[in-house]
């Protein structure tokens, strides 16, 4: 079922008519601080600062922006999903800071329960994989309802495009970052009925919060560029995903959500 309660957030005004709503999700919060670095860096605090900065840049472009939390609250995965699942023309970006990885690099993920990490040979050469990933079976039932638990399945292709566009921008801003986005089974994304991505910054293993804070303007710029590109590529009008494969040529709020199946 769709949860009745929504986390606290203050909807922003819609300047200049860009009707795409961007829901930014600073991950963790409350007792769940996320990753912690030796220098006192706390993931839940850093991602909230990132989200606030990205919101400002997006609003400057005329987007309506919502945050899944404005302070140190800890909304559940479903609370966060419920903020976007009732909206039309919306995209979701969840923000994380990892505990590993080269500092200053950023990775973007779209949902995929596909075990396809990059695989390289001992020499670093990428290896092909023999078996195709699982079929992306549609989650849209014969009744036209999307099971809450599999809401993202109808948007996999759109999410992958948004992730690719975002990673292209991030790779330009942050040297050493991969050129392409990757699929990952990110729990938060599974229940989002809209194009949805996760952005993970490396890492909490910095000398202090300032090292991550200095990434903020470029991160905000890159994410905003990607969302502008995504909207432009969709002609500004986001439509319902094609049944069967999900995403199709357009993306959007999708069919009405059903209860949990």
């Amino acid at each position: 079922m769709i949860p009745n309660s929504t986390p606290n957030s203050v909807p922003n005004a819609v300047p200049n008519g860009r009707e795409l709503t961007v829901v930014l999700d600073p991950a963790h919060g409350g007792p769940d601080a996320g990753s912690r670095g030796a220098a006192g860096v706390v993931e839940s605090e850093i991602v909230l600062n990132f989200a606030r900065a990205i919101r400002q840049t997006l609003q400057g472009q005329g987007f309506r922006v919502l945050l899944t939390r404005e302070g140190n609250q800890d909304p559940s995965f479903d609370d966060r999903s419920s903020m976007i699942n009732g909206l039309r023309n919306a995209v979701f970006v969840t923000l994380h800071v990892s505990s590993t990885g080269p500092v200053g690099t950023v990775r973007t993920y779209s949902y995929g329960e596909i075990a396809t990490p990059p695989v390289v040979s001992a020499t670093g050469k990428p290896l092909p994989e023999t078996r195709p990933g699982t079929t992306r079976s549609t989650a849209i039932s014969r009744t036209g309802l999307i099971p809450w638990d599999r809401a993202q399945e109808a948007y996999l292709n759109a999410s992958e495009r948004l992730a690719q566009l975002t990673q292209i921008q991030l790779a330009q801003e942050f040297g050493g970052s991969p050129e392409l986005s990757l699929p990952a089974a990110v729990r938060q994304l599974r229940t989002i009925a809209a194009p949805a991505i996760a952005v993970e910054i490396s890492s909490v293993a910095v000398s202090g919060p300032a090292q991550l804070a200095q990434m903020t303007p470029r991160l905000a710029d890159a994410v905003t560029h990607a969302i502008v590109d995504f909207q432009v590529a969709n002609g500004g009008a986001l439509t319902t995903p094609a049944a069967g494969r999900g995403g199709g040529p357009g993306v959007g709020a999708g069919p009405p959500l059903g209860g949990a199946h």
């Binding site: 840049t57 400057g60 695989v119 670093g124 023999t130 690719q164 050129e179």
Partner: protein, 267 residues
Amino acid sequence: MAMARHWKIAILILAIAAFVGVWTFPSLLRNVLRLRRAPVTEEQARREIVQEPISTPTDAPQKAQLFWASLTSFGALEPTEIDLPLSADPAERSKQLIAALIARAPTGAQRTLPANAELLQLYVLQDGTAIADFSEALPTQVPSGIVSEQMAVDSIAHTLGANVPGVSRLKILIHGQEADTLAGHVDLSVFFPVIAPIASPESDTAPAGGTASPASSTSPSSTLPSPVSPSSASSRVSPGPAAGANGPPTPAKSPLTPASSSSPQPH
């Protein structure tokens, strides 16, 4: 002149001591190196004593391909071939492989599963589903984050895929229970496809930090990239550290403009 008796005794003792030293030095050196290489935690030491190695009547020494983290490309896995006695029974074989994945990581940096993680049980169902039940140490000690959690899952899936015929998907339980996430990020409510990667003919001859890059799947930001279908999984590869210089050309970024000037209006 005859040597004094006490000198003879002293020389004899020294000679014996030197002989013993030479005799024991190699094993002493080996032990020192082993201690330097792999610091053993209390939990590991306990397990080594309590837990018997998994052996079955059908065990046969084989070259197994295990997937640990790449040292050259962060976020990527790398196959390593090791000699391992493997059972003919898929479930026992899978247990042996996962035990080796935990216990025999070549270096700490290549480890994908915590050293203290323990595979409590593993079943293989008739439909090819492997159900692996891990101890609490897996979620509590795996580094938190999307990349590290996904690599933990994928190292298991790839290792099973490369060595256990008939296993097609993987379900991970924590202490007998279904968990929402591994460590806050990766979804454990799903079944992970078990994929068998193979080496491409050129891969072994490629220079370090290979330059192969999935250029075909990117495009300028003004147009959408081609969707990467699951069947073209080979394009989902890490460009590696060198790819920034040799990877696909990326579009020049145009400055962001205020919404009122050039932003597309909604239809």
